[in-house]
């Protein structure tokens, strides 16, 4: 006869088995149609490019070398690949600026929402989420209309007399920056709101009792309290900005490429799949590093508050 403990153990093992079976469809679909093929990209990055796209099955590290270095076609010497490096640099710069811009606008907005009354708060929050759920391409297209030479922004500036010639914003880095800040703003506001909602305003009151100014309260009390939200929001904006493809394509006009567009180029006109693969892996690596930094910070933050 089996003891009670044995029966319980067998029951538990059966439960775990059933749970694995239940989660199997989701795991398999994600493995085969999203995450698993990343391994193939890694393999492809070590092969030679075929003449008409695809690859030749021969080991080569050329693709990885040409991510950062350029081989001179005449004397075979290596130098830094300015084209690629400048695109990586632009992507990093634009993503950081986007993060900063969304933080500057998103912080007061999230604070405004968090300090509303309970009933109206949800409605304000909903107004922030609506644009997030509407098509990214359409929102980018909307921005394109606003900033073009004859668009709303220029008309307004000319009408108010600030400028007399329309500004050429479309198809510049500024256009990409404005577009990315616009489409990713909700991703900054939502986590900021989530931490601001939990602010204990008795701490703020205590600050004022000790003669702190509004700015001191903001800097010494509110910002430290919502730091987890600031970090989460920054990561949520930074990661998609870095891999952005649609916004720079529509607003950068083919010349102001970001990494995403450079990758696409290798699978289209460039016909260098291994280079595209190694660029993809580089982008993935940068994103994973950013995530790891985030997890470390978030983890230590929670422990402090816990």
């Amino acid at each position: 006869m089996a003891s009670a403990a044995e029966i319980a153990k067998a029951y538990e093992a059966q439960d775990v088995r059933r749970r694995w079976l239940l989660s199997l469809p989701a795991l398999l679909i994600i493995f085969f149609a999203a995450i698993g093929p990343l391994a193939i990209v890694l393999v492809y990055s070590f092969l030679e490019p075929g003449n008409y796209g695809d690859v030749i099955w021969k080991f080569s590290t050329d693709a990885w070398v040409s991510v950062v270095l350029e081989r001179d076609i005449f004397d075979d010497t290596l130098s830094f690949a300015d084209a690629h490096l400048s695109i990586f640099w632009r992507s990093l710069k634009l993503s950081l600026l986007t993060t900063l811009l969304t933080l500057l606008i998103g912080f007061p907005t999230a604070y405004f929402i968090a300090t509303r009354r309970e009933g109206t708060r949800e409605i304000w929050l909903f107004l922030v989420t609506i644009p997030f759920w509407t098509n990214l391409l359409i929102r980018t297209f909307a921005i394109q209309e606003v900033i073009r030479s004859e668009g709303l922004l220029n008309s307004l500036l000319i009408w108010t007399g600030v400028i007399d010639q329309p500004l050429r914003i479309l198809f510049t880095d500024t256009a990409v920056l404005i577009g990315m800040a616009y489409v990713y703003l909700p991703l900054m506001v939502l986590p900021l709101f989530a931490s601001m909602e939990k602010i204990d305003f008795r701490l703020v009151e205590a600050g004022y009792d000790l003669y702190a100014s509004r700015f001191q309260v903001l800097r010494r009390i509110i910002v430290p309290l919502v730091k987890p939200g600031i970090i989460a929001g920054s990561i949520l904006v930074f990661i998609p900005s870095l891999g952005a493809y649609v916004t720079p394509r529509v607003l950068g006009g083919g010349r102001n490429l970001m990494v995403g567009n450079l990758i696409e180029l290798q699978f289209g006109q460039g016909r260098n799949w291994p280079l595209g693969a190694s660029l993809s892996m580089t982008l993935l690596a940068i994103v994973l590093i950013a995530l790891m930094v985030y997890i470390r910070y978030a983890g230590s933050g929670e422990r402090r508050h816990g």
């Binding site: 775990v16 694995w20 239940l22 149609a33 604070y111 644009p131 359409i138 209309e145 990758i263």
Partner: protein
């Protein structure tokens, strides 16, 4: 008498918030307004007309792409929701077991990897399968969409499950209901709002996708977003605004429905 001192106030924050909301909605509203322009420009107003809606309605490519978008989104959303519901049942309301944290991380992974990287991976993987099997149908797009919709569907279902009281299920088991019967008569009806929310999110997410679709689609498989992306390279007429307006209304309608459903507990 002095005004009461509001400890929550921060100078200028309300102004910035007002500007922020204006900035969020002005571009979208401009886009919608010019959809009704009588002229051919998307910037110079020449009077009210519905001609561009008519033009879009009579544009076969638009109708075909829209129909394809809806078909893919429906199938992918249903599949993703079923898979996500099962996964949520398997990962909530349990003692930690080996692999639980890993499962959770894996299900959410499509949210973390840049979309362009997944798109490239699928392009390579599916092009191999296309050559090997000769099949070039919508199956690839449906599979890809299902995969990236799962984490979105999983979120509200899991949240709902975690807030559910387990005592009713225990009671059902005490009354000799078997596992399936308990699930069908107790768990499923309680979980239903979460499942519907997941389904709607998955549908909207699939409908909106550009990047993965652009890389995975075979010739002649444009969805509405990839069709629009192609058109944006040319001279744009208010027809694009008209298409966008209809699309926006659809998404906003679904999300609003979701909002009110999740408010009603």
């Amino acid at each position: 008498m002095a005004r009461t001192f509001d400890v929550r106030r921060q100078t200028g924050f309300t102004t910035i918030a007002a500007i922020c909301f204006a900035l969020l909605y002005l571009p979208i509203m401009t886009l919608v307004v010019y959809a009704f322009n009588a002229g051919t420009s998307i910037a110079i107003w020449e009077g009210f007309s519905l001609r561009w809606f008519e033009a879009a309605w009579n544009n076969n490519q638009v109708i075909e792409a829209s129909w394809r978008s809806v078909r893919i989104a429906s199938v992918a959303a249903v599949l993703a929701t079923i898979a996500a519901t099962m996964a949520a049942l398997a990962t909530t309301r349990t003692k930690p077991y080996r692999g639980l944290a890993g499962k959770y991380a894996f299900i959410n992974m499509p949210l973390m990897v840049p979309e362009i990287v997944v798109a490239v991976a699928l392009l390579i993987f599916f092009s191999r399968i296309k050559i090997a099997t000769g099949y070039t149908g919508l199956g690839y797009l449906i599979a890809a969409h299902t995969a990236f919709c799962i984490p979105f569907a999983y979120l509200p279902i899991r949240a709902r499950l975690e807030s559910m009281d387990q005592s009713l299920e225990t009671a059902a088991a005490d009354l000799y209901a078997n596992g399936w019967r308990t699930f069908r008569r107790i768990t499923l009806p309680l979980l239903w709002p979460g499942i519907l929310a997941g389904l709607m999110l998955a549908f909207v997410i699939s409908l909106d996708d550009v990047v993965i679709t652009e890389f995975v689609k075979s010739g002649g498989q444009d969805t509405l977003p990839t069709y629009m992306l192609g058109q944006l390279r040319r001279v744009v007429t208010p027809e694009m605004n008209a298409i966008s307006t209809v699309f926006l209304l659809l998404s906003i309608g679904i999300v609003t429905l979701f909002f009110f459903m999740s408010r009603r507990k």
